[in-house]
């Protein structure tokens, strides 16, 4: 169970800018990425961001199903964001919640600008995002991992996509909220970006930001996305290196 936190009595940010988990204001949680771990899909990726743990699989391009969804001039991108019943403090019902349905939509719209759907008319590219453990930032980590899995599946993309949530604690804009900060902080703003073309593909806000904080938050998210992008490239590189050495062994 999540320990109850009285945000009134215990500040989420110390006077010298240290957060309850010891991180600095602009410090991301520890991130681990791995690609290609599942064998029966076109591409897969696993991400850990702090205690948030997510596994993504991509199937396709493949025949769209049901058929009437097929588009003559392009592929359709289907996504599913879903949380495991054991991923949260209280058991989550397996039936998709309204929250999961909304997040499924915004994630799809965060990936669509990057995926070259025109290359695969009449097909479907399906991205399944399963949250195995939720500790805030699941939609942004899900996007980061989904882009990795798409890349491993060999789906052509205009650019990578990576995402991070920035927030506000004790009046300060901070990087990558954890669950305690998300629940008791003053704002939560997930941002997805295409790092090379410098464009925002997901933008949501819950909470209260001034114009200046909004601007600062977007800039901080941009820096977070850059860090994640480097890790994505590294994860793909490791995968291909290990594949090549595996082939040499054959």
């Amino acid at each position: 169970m999540v320990e109850a936190v009285d945000s009134g009595s215990k500040p989420l940010l110390s006077p010298d800018g240290i957060r309850t988990d010891g991180r600095k204001i602009d410090e991301m949680r520890k991130v681990k990425m791995e690609v290609g771990l599942l064998k029966n899909c076109s591409g897969s990726a696993y991400i850990e961001q702090g205690k948030t743990k997510i596994i993504v699989a991509v199937h396709g391009p493949r025949e769209a199903h049901p058929k009437h969804l097929a588009q003559p001039g392009r592929a359709i991108l289907r996504t599913r964001y879903h949380m495991a019943p054991f991923s949260t403090s209280d058991r989550k019902s397996p039936a998709p919640s309204r929250r999961e349905i909304e997040i499924t939509k915004v994630i799809r719209e965060a990936l669509e600008p990057a995926v070259m759907l025109d290359e695969f008319p009449k097909t479907s590219i399906d991205v399944f995002i399963e949250v195995l453990q939720a500790d805030a930032g699941t939609r942004s980590a899900g996007i980061t991992a989904a882009a990795l899995a798409l890349a491993e599946a060999g789906i052509p993309m205009r650019d990578m996509v990576a995402a991070v949530a920035v927030g506000k604690l004790e009046g300060r804009v901070v990087m990558d909220l954890n669950e305690e900060e998300d629940e008791h902080g003053q704002a939560d703003m997930p941002v997805a970006m295409m790092p090379n073309v410098n464009r925002i593909t997901l933008l949501q806000l819950n909470g209260r930001l001034t114009r200046a904080e909004l601007e600062e938050g977007l800039s901080m998210a941009r820096r977070g996305v850059d860090q994640l992008y480097e890790m994505q490239k590294q994860a793909l590189r490791e995968k291909y290196t290990s594949s090549e050495s595996a082939q040499e062994e054959d």
Binding site: P72, R98, K105, E112, P113, V197, I200, L203, Q204, T210
Partner: protein, 275 residues
């Protein structure tokens, strides 16, 4: 799992035409790019609801009705009342809407209305508590899209806001665990006016309050809900395209400016403003 293809197959041609028109700074319906349509607000339409409002933005109409009930608070907020927003795209509103459970678009729209009202913290939820941990007011806000000529998001949000601003709760007398509702009523405690404004991107242009025709060719819509102080309390980017950081900030400026105007019309029409 639905895949929404927001730009129809016939759109590219039409988009090119529209882009040329927009370059002149004037929209198909004669508005400037940053101009909102006329807004008409009616309240207290249904006696059986605790509050109700109908908002017309041009030919777009949404109606909201409020029902209250006493119930248990959420375990993690034992001293707070509960607000819950549902939204249905009535088949009346458009030949494209089918009756039935809300699809992902309607769910997104209702959650954006919900966040605008709830996460802005403009409502004093602690004043909706009756017996801490046991009994609080639950406020059901049910929104109907009745006529769809674009920007249902703002129409829904404004109808919900107007209904909340004019709704009445009974005062109660609490003796031990016994709650008696009195004849006297009080408003829902709301201290700010969170106004949503939606901006659509068509080609390279940002259009405030898009019509249905504009929405059809737009690639992205962003809804920002701002309060009096300029604080932005909720943002939602919707649609399968991207925006730049500069566009995000420009949308904020447009949203804040229009919200200010709308807030004036709202308080004028309602004769009430947040406490």
């Amino acid at each position: 799992m639905d895949s929404v293809n927001s730009i129809s197959e016939a759109a590219p041609l039409r988009l090119r035409d529209l882009n040329a028109v927009l370059a002149t700074g004037v929209r198909e319906d004669g508005r400037k790019l940053d101009e909102y349509r006329n807004i008409d607000i009616k309240t207290n339409l249904y006696e059986k609801a605790n509050g109700s409002a109908m908002v017309r933005i041009g030919n777009t109409v949404a109606v909201a009705g409020i029902k209250i009930a006493r119930g248990a608070p959420f375990p993690d907020t034992p001293n707070d009342g509960v607000l819950t927003v549902s939204l249905e795209l009535l088949p009346h509103a458009s030949p494209d809407f089918e009756p039935g459970p809300p699809d992902e678009g309607a769910i997104e729209m209702s959650r954006v209305v919900d966040r605008g009202l709830r996460e802005s913290k403009s409502i004093k939820y602690d004043e909706l508590c009756i017996i801490p941990g046991k009994s609080v007011w639950i406020i059901y806000v049910d929104v109907y899209a009745l006529d769809h000529d674009g920007n249902l998001q703002d129409a829904a949000g404004l109808a919900a806001l107007a209904a909340v601003l004019t709704a009445k709760l009974p005062e109660v007398k609490v003796e031990g665990d016994t709650v008696t509702e009195l004849e006297t009523k009080r408003p829902i405690p709301i201290v700010e006016t969170p106004v949503p404004v939606t901006v659509a991107k068509v080609g390279d242009h940002l259009l405030v309050d898009p019509s249905a025709a504009e929405e059809e060719v737009s690639s992205v819509r962003v809804t920002m809900t701002t309060i009096e102080s300029g604080v932005v309390a909720s943002i939602q980017k919707s649609g399968s395209d991207s925006i730049t950081m500069e566009e995000a900030l420009k949308i904020y400026d447009l949203a804040f400016a229009r919200a200010k105007e709308i807030r004036g019309k709202l308080t004028a029409a309602l004769g009430v403003s947040p406490a």
